[in-house]
C-alpha cells in the first residue's frame, strides 16, 4: 500500500514539476503568443525558438493599437528574459512608442504596429528627438501596418510618416522664405492644370483632370506634384537644399539571359551604380538637372536626348547601360519618394529632402513597382 501511495505521489510531483517548469514546454510556437501584463518573455522561450529554428509571434495591445513582434530563431544567439511590451500613443502627426525594455534585446526583432487608419505615406521614420532611429515601412490596403526592424532600443521615439517630415522641411523652408522673400518659384499653370489644388509652393494634382496634357502626359494621380515645364523653371542658386540620389540596375541580375553579352561586365555584382547619396541642389532645379550634375561629379556615364513631344529629356543610357540592352522592355525609370512620375525627369521640380531613385527596368517598369507604363 505504501508503495502505491509513494508511486502516486512521485507521479503527481513529477507531473506538477514538468507542468510548472516555466513556459518552455507549454509554448506552442505555431500559435501567436499573447504578451502577459508584465510583457516579459522568459529566456527558456527564446531558447526554444532558437533550438527549433522557429518563427515566433508575440502579440500585445496598447490603447487602440495592436502590435506584434516576430522573432526568427535564426537571429538568436545569446538569449535572456526580454520585456516585449510597449506603450503606444497617438500624437498630432504620428505615433509615440515607449519601450518597456531598457537594454538592447541582443537580437533583431520585427515589430508590426497595426493602425486603425490608413496612412498615405509609403514609408515613415522613427525619431528620438531629432535623430532618426528606425526606418519604418508602411503597408496595408485598408488600414496601415507599420513594420520596424528593431535592433537597438531607445527609451522612446515618435514615428512620423515621411510625407509629414517633408512637409515640416518644406514649412521650415517656407519660414526661411519669409525672411528672404523669393519669387523664383514660378510653377506656372497652363489651362489643363486648372483643376489642381495648391499646397505650399508646389502644385499638386487633385485627381479630377481626366485628359492628357499637351505633352502627352496622362492625368497625374491625386496628391502627386504636377509637372513644371523646363522653360518655366528658374533656378535660384542662392538657395540650396539636399535630396538623396541613387542609381541601380539590380533587375538586370534577374534577367541576365536577356542582357547584351557585351554589357555583362558593366553590371555591378549588387546592381548598385550609385548608392543612396545626399546631394545638394538649387531651388528650382529638376530631377534631370541634378542627375546631370551628379553623374558628372561622380564620373558616371550619362546619355540623354531631348524629346519635344514630352517636353523633357529622355535618359537613353547610364553607366553605358542603355534602353533595350536587357530585352525589348528595358530602360531607365525614376521614382521620387516611392512614386514613379508619369512625366519626364526635366519636368519634375525637386523639393528639399526628396529621395530620387533611378532604376533600370527589364519589364516596362513592372519589375520595379512602376504600374502605369504597361
Amino acid at each position: 500500500m505504501k508503495r502505491i501511495i509513494s508511486l502516486v505521489l512521485t507521479l503527481i510531483l513529477l507531473l506538477s514539476f514538468t507542468a510548472c517548469s516555466g513556459n518552455f514546454a507549454q509554448v506552442d510556437l505555431k500559435e501567436p503568443i499573447a504578451l502577459t501584463e508584465d510583457g516579459i518573455i522568459e529566456k527558456s522561450v527564446f531558447d526554444k525558438i532558437k533550438n527549433e529554428n522557429a518563427i515566433a509571434t508575440f502579440t500585445g495591445e496598447s490603447g487602440d493599437f495592436k502590435y506584434e513582434w516576430t522573432v526568427f530563431g535564426s537571429d538568436l544567439v545569446d538569449t535572456r528574459d526580454v520585456n516585449l511590451s510597449l506603450a503606444l500613443e497617438k500624437t498630432d502627426k504620428g505615433i509615440k512608442i515607449k519601450f518597456s525594455e531598457a537594454e538592447d534585446f541582443g537580437f533583431p526583432a520585427l515589430l508590426s504596429i497595426h493602425l486603425n487608419e490608413k496612412w498615405t505615406a509609403n514609408s515613415a521614420t522613427a525619431f528620438d528627438e531629432e535623430t532618426a532611429v528606425y526606418s519604418v515601412s508602411v503597408t496595408g490596403s485598408k488600414t496601415s501596418i507599420l513594420n520596424i526592424s528593431v535592433n537597438k532600443i531607445v527609451a522612446e521615439c515618435e514615428i512620423l510618416p515621411d510625407d509629414t517630415k517633408q512637409e515640416e522641411n518644406t514649412s521650415s523652408t517656407e519660414s526661411n522664405k519669409d525672411t528672404t522673400p523669393s519669387n523664383n518659384q514660378t510653377n506656372k499653370t497652363d489651362d489643363y492644370l486648372s483643376d489642381v489644388k495648391e499646397s505650399d509652393d508646389r502644385i499638386y494634382s487633385d485627381g479630377k483632370n481626366k485628359e492628357k496634357d499637351k505633352y502627352e502626359t496622362d492625368p497625374v494621380p491625386e496628391g502627386k506634384p504636377m509637372p513644371v515645364e523646363p522653360e518655366d523653371q528658374e533656378v535660384n542658386k542662392k538657395k540650396s537644399y539636399t535630396c538623396t540620389f541613387s542609381i541601380e540596375c539590380s533587375t538586370i541580375l534577374n534577367n541576365l539571359k536577356d542582357l547584351d553579352p557585351d554589357k555583362r561586365e558593366l553590371v555591378p555584382s549588387n546592381g548598385v551604380i550609385l548608392a543612396p547619396t545626399k546631394v545638394t541642389f538649387y531651388e528650382g532645379e529638376s530631377v534631370f538637372d541634378v542627375l546631370q550634375r551628379v553623374c558628372k561629379e561622380k564620373g558616371i556615364h550619362l546619355e540623354s536626348s531631348w524629346t519635344p513631344i514630352y517636353n523633357s529629356a529622355y535618359i537613353e543610357g547610364i553607366h553605358n547601360l542603355y534602353e533595350f540592352d536587357c530585352g525589348e522592355l528595358s530602360g531607365w525609370t525614376y521614382c521620387v519618394d516611392g512614386w514613379y512620375p508619369n512625366y519626364g525627369c526635366s519636368r519634375y521640380q525637386l523639393k528639399d529632402g526628396e529621395k530620387v531613385e533611378w532604376r533600370y527596368t527589364c519589364d516596362l517598369g513592372k519589375d520595379v513597382g512602376c504600374d502605369w507604363m504597361g
Binding site: I4, I12, T18, I55, T251, N254, V368
Partner: protein, 210 residues
C-alpha cells in the same frame, strides 16, 4: 466502546480508486497545458493563416513558398471558398499557387478524397497587387470541404508561390494581408467569413535578410 475500523481490503480499494482518479485528472491537466489545446479540444473560431517563412536573402532567385493553413472547420460542408490577399507587387512577383494537403470529398461525396482545384490568375494578381483565389464545387456539394477531411497536423489549404523582384533591399518587409476570406456553406448562416468574424485570419510576411 470499540473503535470501528474500515476493512483493510475496502481501504485499499478506496486508496487505489482515489489515486487513479487523481492521476486521470492530472493527465488531463497535463495534456491541456502541453498541447495548449483549448483550441483543438474545445473547437474555437477557425483561423486561416499565411505562414511566415524564414528570412529570404535578397539575392535568392528561388521561389518562395508560403503555406496557407486552416485550423479547423465548423460542422457544415463548404462547397465554395475564396480569399483575397494584398501584397506589394513592386517587390514580390506572384508566380501562382500549389496544392496543399486539405482534401475535398470525392465525386460521390464520400470521404475517399481528392484535392481541390483553386483558380487564380497570377498575371492579373501582379497587376493589381491583390491575389484573388477561388474554389467552386460545381457538383452541388459533392466536392466540398468538411472537417472530417482535416488532418490532426498542419492543414495546408494551398501554397502561395512568390519570387523576389530585383527592387527588393535588405531589411524589406513584405506583408501579405488578407482583405477577405470566406468558406461558404450551403446554409449561409454556417459560412465562415472574415467579415462576420466567423473566420479569423492571420497575415504573413516575407522578410528580406542580407
Amino acid at each position: 466502546m470499540s473503535k470501528r475500523s474500515m476493512n483493510p481490503k475496502t481501504k485499499k480499494k478506496l486508496i487505489i480508486g482515489i489515486s487513479a482518479g487523481v492521476l486521470v485528472l492530472l493527465l488531463i491537466l497535463f495534456l491541456l497545458l502541453f498541447k495548449g489545446c483549448s483550441h483543438s479540444i474545445f473547437g474555437g473560431t477557425p483561423t486561416l493563416s499565411i505562414e511566415t517563412p524564414q528570412k529570404i536573402s535578397k539575392t535568392d532567385t528561388q521561389e518562395i513558398m508560403l503555406d496557407v493553413t486552416i485550423s479547423s472547420f465548423g460542422d457544415a460542408i463548404y462547397p465554395a471558398a475564396s480569399m483575397s490577399i494584398s501584397f506589394d507587387s513592386s517587390r514580390l512577383e506572384f508566380i501562382g499557387i500549389e496544392e496543399g494537403n486539405v482534401f475535398i470529398r470525392n465525386d460521390e461525396g464520400e470521404i475517399p478524397q481528392k484535392l481541390p482545384e483553386w483558380s487564380c490568375n497570377p498575371e492579373q494578381c501582379n497587376k493589381s497587387g491583390k491575389i484573388n483565389i477561388m474554389y467552386l464545387d460545381t457538383t452541388g456539394g459533392k466536392n466540398a470541404f468538411s472537417k472530417e477531411l482535416l488532418s490532426t497536423d498542419e492543414n495546408v489549404v494551398l501554397r502561395l508561390k512568390f519570387r523576389l523582384r530585383g527592387s527588393v533591399r535588405s531589411g524589406d518587409i513584405c506583408d501579405l494581408i488578407f482583405d477577405d476570406a470566406v468558406f461558404a456553406a450551403s446554409d449561409e448562416t454556417e459560412s465562415l467569413a472574415m467579415t462576420t468574424d466567423t473566420l479569423k485570419v492571420r497575415n504573413g510576411k516575407i522578410v528580406v535578410g542580407d
